[in-house]
C-alpha cells in the first residue's frame, strides 16, 4: 500500500444542528484511485468541500502530504496541488475553450499585473510552450475543433470533456471528482473512466465521489463508504458486498445508477 497522500482525521461539521460529517476518518493512498460512496446525505460532498477549502470543519484535521489544510483558503489549497470539480461542470462561459484549459496550466507568476505590462513579449513566448501542450490535451479530449469557441456554446458532454481537459492540463497531485458521471451517457462514461485510470497511471492520486457503482467498480483501487456523516467501511470494492453495514446503508447494492 502506498503511503497516504491525503489524511482525514475525525472530521466533523454540522449545519444548524445537523451533523453533515461526524468523526470522519480515512486515508487516501498516493497514486491510486479511491472511490467515496454512500447514499444521499452521507456527507460526501461536504467532505469534498472541507478538503478543498470551501468551508471550515468544526473539528478534525486534514493533511495533504503532511501539510495541514484546515483554515486555508481554497485557492491556497489548490496551489498545494489539489484540483477538484463540482457537481455541475463549472467552465468559464465567456472565455474560449482554449483559454479555459490554458488557465488550468496555472502559471501564477505570469499573472502579475506588473509583469504583464512590462514583460509582455517574454510572457507571450513562454506561453507558446503551454499552448502547444494544451493543444495536445485538447486533441486527447476531442476538443480541437472547438478550441476557439466560447465555452458556453459547448454541449453538455463537451463541457464534461472540457472539465477533464482542464484537469489534465493542471497536472495536479490530488484530483477530487465530485460526481463526474452525473447525466453522462455510457460512451462518454467510458472515456471518463479511461481518463481517470490514466491520471492514476501518471502517478496522480484521484478521489471519485460517485453514485454510479459500476463506474466505481471499474475505476477504483479501493473505496471508502460513508453513511450519515461517518465512514462505515473501507477497502476494495469486491469486499463491500459482503459488508453488512454497507448493505444496510444502501438497502441492496444492486440499486445502482447505471
Amino acid at each position: 500500500m502506498s503511503p497516504p497522500l491525503l489524511e482525514i482525521e475525525k472530521l466533523t461539521k454540522s449545519f444548524g444542528g445537523v451533523h453533515a460529517v461526524r468523526d470522519c476518518t480515512f486515508a487516501v493512498p498516493e497514486g491510486q484511485v479511491t472511490g467515496l460512496i454512500g447514499p444521499n446525505g452521507a456527507g460526501k460532498s461536504t467532505v469534498v468541500d472541507l478538503v478543498s477549502g470551501f468551508g471550515e470543519p468544526d473539528s478534525g484535521s486534514i493533511r495533504l502530504a503532511g501539510e495541514p489544510l484546515v483554515g486555508k483558503r481554497p485557492d491556497v489549497i489548490s496551489r498545494l496541488g489539489l484540483i477538484r470539480t463540482f457537481q455541475t461542470p463549472r467552465e468559464w462561459p465567456n472565455l474560449t475553450v482554449m483559454d479555459n484549459v490554458l488557465l488550468a496550466r496555472r502559471r501564477f507568476a505570469d499573472e502579475s499585473l506588473w509583469r504583464c505590462l512590462t514583460r509582455a513579449r517574454r510572457i507571450r513566448r513562454d506561453e507558446e510552450a503551454d499552448r502547444a501542450a494544451v493543444r495536445g490535451i485538447l486533441g486527447r479530449f476531442q476538443l480541437t475543433a472547438v478550441r476557439n469557441e466560447l465555452a458556453s456554446r459547448l454541449s453538455g458532454g463537451q463541457k464534461r470533456l472540457l472539465e477533464f481537459a482542464r484537469i489534465a492540463a493542471a497536472e495536479a497531485r490530488l484530483i477530487i471528482l465530485d460526481e463526474p458521471m452525473g447525466g453522462v451517457n455510457p460512451v462518454l462514461g467510458a472515456r471518463i473512466g479511461e481518463a481517470v485510470r490514466q491520471f492514476a497511471g501518471e502517478g496522480r492520486t484521484v478521489v471519485v465521489v460517485e453514485h454510479n457503482l459500476p463506474f466505481i467498480e471499474r475505476t477504483c483501487d479501493q473505496v471508502v463508504v460513508m453513511d450519515l456523516g461517518e465512514v462505515i467501511a473501507q477497502g476494495p470494492f469486491a469486499g463491500l458486498r459482503a459488508n453488512p453495514r454497507v448493505v444496510d446503508a444502501y438497502l441492496g447494492m444492486d440499486q445502482s445508477h447505471a
Binding site: 477549502g53 470551501f54 483558503r73 481554497p74 485557492d75
Partner: protein
C-alpha cells in the same frame, strides 16, 4: 433630554415616510428579484403631483394624497410592464442599470415640465402639539398616523389576504407559484401597482415634510431607502420596518448633534458599515456573498 426626544420625534416622522418607501422597495425586490433604482422616482412623481394639485384642490390633503397614490400606481404598472418584465431572467445588475436609465429619464422629464429649480409645497403645517415628550406639528402627526395606518394595512394585506399569500408564494419561487395555479404575472403587476401607490403617497408625505423640493427629491431619498432596506434585510417587509426606524432615528440623532447637512453622510456611512457586517439585515446572521479567496 428634551432635545433628544424632540429629535426622536422628528426622527419618527422621517422614519415613517422612510418605512413606507423601504417596505415598497423591498416588496419590489421580493417579487421581481431586482433593486429598483427608479423607486425614488415614484416618490418624486407623487410629490410633484401633490404640488400640481395644491391649487386645484385648495389644500385638500386627502385629495392630494389620493391623486399622488393613484399616479404612483400607474407609474408602478408602467415601469413593471415596460421595463421590469422585459428584463426578466437577466442579471440583477443589468436591471439595476436599466432602472437607473429610467430614473434619468424621469428626472429630466420632470425637469422639462416643472423646471430644475425647487418648487415649494405649501400646506399649512398646523400648530405644534406636545404628544407626550415629543413635539410635532399637525402635519407631522398626520404623516405618522397615515404611515402607521398604511403599514398596518400592508401587514394585513400580506398576512390575511389571498393576495398577500400569493405575493409571498411568488416571491419565494415564481415558477412554482405559477404551476400551483397562482397567476404570477398578474400578482406581480398588482404588487407593482401597490408599490407605486404607496411610494407615491410617501412622496406626497415627503413633500409635505420638506416643503421645497426639486426633481432629485426621490433619488436622494433612494439611498436612505436602500439603507433602511438593507438594515432590515432585502425582501423582508417586516424587518424593513424595523430597519427604517433604526435608520430614521440614527439619522436624526446624528444630524442634531453635528449639523443636519451631515445627516446623509452618516446615513451612507451607516449603509457601508451595514453592508460590511450585516448585508442580510441586522436581524439575521451574516453569510458571505462572495467566495472566500
Amino acid at each position: 433630554m428634551t432635545t433628544f426626544l424632540v429629535t426622536v420625534g422628528i426622527g419618527l416622522s422621517t422614519a415613517a415616510i422612510l418605512s413606507l418607501s423601504a417596505v415598497e422597495f423591498t416588496l419590489e425586490y421580493a417579487v421581481s428579484r431586482i433593486a429598483n433604482f427608479a423607486h425614488g422616482e415614484f416618490l418624486t412623481i407623487g410629490a410633484y403631483v401633490a404640488y400640481s394639485t395644491q391649487t386645484t384642490f385648495h389644500q385638500n390633503v386627502a385629495a392630494a394624497a389620493a391623486i399622488a397614490a393613484a399616479v404612483g400606481a400607474v407609474a408602478g404598472l408602467a415601469l413593471n410592464a415596460g421595463v421590469i418584465e422585459q428584463f426578466r431572467g437577466r442579471s440583477a445588475i443589468t436591471v439595476l442599470i436599466a432602472t437607473l436609465g429610467v430614473a434619468l429619464i424621469a428626472e429630466n422629464v420632470l425637469d422639462i415640465v416643472y423646471g430644475a429649480a425647487n418648487v415649494s409645497y405649501n400646506f399649512a403645517q398646523g400648530e405644534l402639539h406636545h404628544v407626550g415628550p415629543f413635539l410635532w406639528t399637525t402635519s407631522d402627526i398626520e404623516v405618522i398616523i397615515s404611515a402607521l395606518a398604511a403599514a398596518g394595512l400592508i401587514y394585513l394585506l400580506l398576512q390575511r389576504t389571498r393576495f398577500g399569500k400569493a405575493i409571498r408564494a411568488v416571491s419565494q419561487d415564481r415558477s412554482l407559484a405559477q404551476v400551483s395555479g397562482i397567476p404570477a404575472r398578474r400578482i406581480v403587476m398588482q404588487t407593482w401597482a401597490l408599490a407605486g401607490a404607496v411610494a407615491g403617497f410617501a412622496g406626497f408625505a415627503l413633500a409635505d415634510t420638506v416643503g421645497t423640493f426639486g426633481p432629485l427629491l426621490g433619488f436622494n431619498f433612494l439611498l436612505l431607502t436602500i439603507t433602511a432596506t438593507v438594515a432590515g434585510g432585502l425582501g423582508r417587509p417586516y424587518a424593513t420596518l424595523g430597519g427604517a426606524l433604526i435608520v430614521g432615528l440614527a439619522l436624526q440623532i446624528a444630524g442634531t448633534y453635528t449639523s443636519s447637512a451631515y445627516e446623509f453622510v452618516f446615513a451612507f456611512l451607516l449603509l457601508v458599515v451595514l453592508m460590511l457586517f450585516r448585508p442580510n439585515g441586522v436581524f439575521v446572521r451574516p453569510s458571505a456573498v462572495a467566495v472566500r479567496a
